[in-house]
Amino acid sequence: MSPPGAPSPHLPEPRPGAPDPPPDPAVRGRAAGAGPREAASWSARRTLATNLRGIVGRAYPRVRGSLREKSWVFFEIALPFLSTCAFVLVYRALEAPEAYVGFAVLGGAMTAFWLNVLWAMGAQLYWDRGEGNLEIYFTAPISLMSILVGMAVGGLYLSGTRALVIVAVGSILFGVQYAIDQWLLLGAVFLLTLVALYGLGMLMASLFLFWGREAWHLANLFQEPVYFLGGLYAPVKVLGPLAGLAIGLLPLAVGLDAIRQLTFSQVTGIGVLPPAAEAAILVAMCAVFLVLARFALAYFERKARAEGRLMARWQ
């Protein structure tokens, strides 16, 4: 057996003065003659660039595929919209003020984000394991966080377009009147809500990966109860003491509460806290969920490796 670094016995000796042969694709990117240890030590710039490529690579199929499967487009818009219509009609049956119809429309739009976080973030690594993608992620020279960020970016685009359609159609169909005074704060609260929501999704991804087969059932479990606690179709204030818990735990609850106050400023007394205070809670949630997601991912990855769960399908 040849010693490492020795020329292959099957290749002809290079002639003196001949140009260098093209680099072998297998060792492209590392210095000629460098060992695996040197090859694995990347500069910060190169690590960042590769992770950014990973983010773009994972977001790409979601953005590109957002219109490819027509039945998905239909279901992703129609299902939340049907629920929205049902709740709007309940408000009409109860002869509620017209602003409440707007509450239901906004809630319906936010369900698109929650469903995306639940199924396309939380349960995604579990699906990926079943499909055989997870092992590719682990062998790729990028952080798994980049994969999750890519999923979140793609998911945001995907559900953002769906939510926009729901708000537009719902507002026109039901004649919703918005009264917005603080556009900047509204924009900030909306973005913070999405970051916190997808941070929670990243945390759930690692938990669901560890829980395995229960992931499916847990995702199912977190639908209607979260719609209720998150105040999707009725302001969270109505929950009384439970509202505090919801505001402290669910980005959906605190974000939607602030968004409702800011988009229906003509209706008073519907919020649990002033919008600025809720924005501050969202900032804290963003930090906490993203940091927790980072640690949970590392912890569960280590544990799953030790228990041999990473490649085990349907477990």
Binding site: F87, R92, E214
Partner: protein
């Protein structure tokens, strides 16, 4: 072009056991039904301990009912107990629709794509239709728990008045039997359709249930619907099922369009619409099953 499968005498081969004596067919059907039910229940329930499974089974329907309760509270401040009772009964019954339909669809998709057992069931001596009924029944059983707990939450925590002594049990029994029959028939038709399409079909039950939820007056009286859509609501068995159960449990008809119809009329409408739906669904299932067999779709995998 699709080649039609025929035997050497020019006859289309039938289902396994199709030409067996009736007694044998009944025995085989019963055996397939019970085996499917046992298998379905094992798959549905063996992922968690019984407590967690019970929590899971009831959390969704109770959560859905509580959203509506919150809406009533914020609008009326608790001054509409009649509407609250209407909502609780409607939401409780609706657990069967989602569970019933998705049970059928998941039975087809899981057995075809995930466990890859559907082809073996189809070529075995088991009778496919009874097997599928049994396999999907596990979700109906879980839905029954959701139904009971939602009613219990309504009575104990929300003050819904259901007096067990005054419940019209014959009307309740007949409405539930016919209504569940309609749900099963609907699930069967969707399952047949799923035999011929890709795994994205898992969305179908939710979409169909969502449409029916809106049209059947589950959470609001039919009078709130636009007038053009109302006739559509009246030909759905789910509308009459909910009305029958509400009358049986609450003792009062829903005000509005349905209010003037006597109990017997409600039952008759429920019988007629369920019969039409059942026959139609059976035919739809058979047609799609035949298509799936002829095109070789029984063992298709459209995912991993």
């Amino acid at each position: 072009m699709t080649a039609r499968v025929v035997d050497r005498h020019g006859h289309r081969p039938g289902m396994p056991g199709e030409h067996a004596p009736p007694a044998h067919r009944i025995t085989a059907s019963w055996r397939s039904l019970t085996t499917g039910a046992r298998l379905g229940w094992a798959i549905e329930s063996n992922w968690a301990d019984p407590f967690l499974f019970a929590v899971y089974s009831v959390a969704r329907p109770v959560g859905a009912a509580l959203i509506l309760v919150a809406i009533v509270w914020i609008v009326s401040g608790g001054a509409r107990p009649d509407y609250l009772a209407f909502l609780v009964v409607g939401s409780a019954c609706w657990t069967f629709v989602g569970g019933g339909m998705s049970g059928f669809v998941w039975a087809v998709l899981d057995d075809r794509e995930r466990y890859r057992m559907l082809k073996y069931i189809v070529v075995s001596a088991a009778r496919f239709l009874p097997f599928l009924l049994g396999r999907a029944s596990a979700q109906l059983l879980a839905a029954a728990a959701g139904f009971l707990v939602t009613l219990l939450v309504g009575v104990v925590f929300l003050g819904v008045r259901i007096d067990v002594g005054r419940v019209d049990w014959p009307l309740f029994g007949a409405s539930m039997a016919l209504g569940l029959g309609a749900v099963v028939a609907l699930g069967l038709a969707v399952a047949g359709l799923c035999l011929t399409i890709r795994r994205e079909a898992w969305n179908y039950p939710e979409a169909i249930a969502g449409g029916l939820y809106l049209l059947s007056g589950t959470i609001f009286p039919l009078d709130v619907l636009p007038a053009a859509i109302r006739p559509l609501a009246l030909v759905l068995p789910t509308t009459w099922w909910l009305e029958g159960v509400r009358r049986a449990l609450l003792g009062v008809p829903t005000p509005g369009v349905l209010g003037s119809i006597p109990d017997a009329g409600v039952l008759l409408a429920l019988c007629a619409t369920t019969a039409v739906l059942t026959l139609g669904s059976w035919a739809v299932f058979r047609v799609f099953e035949r298509i799936a067999r002829e095109r070789g779709l029984i063992d298709q995998t459209t995912g991993s």
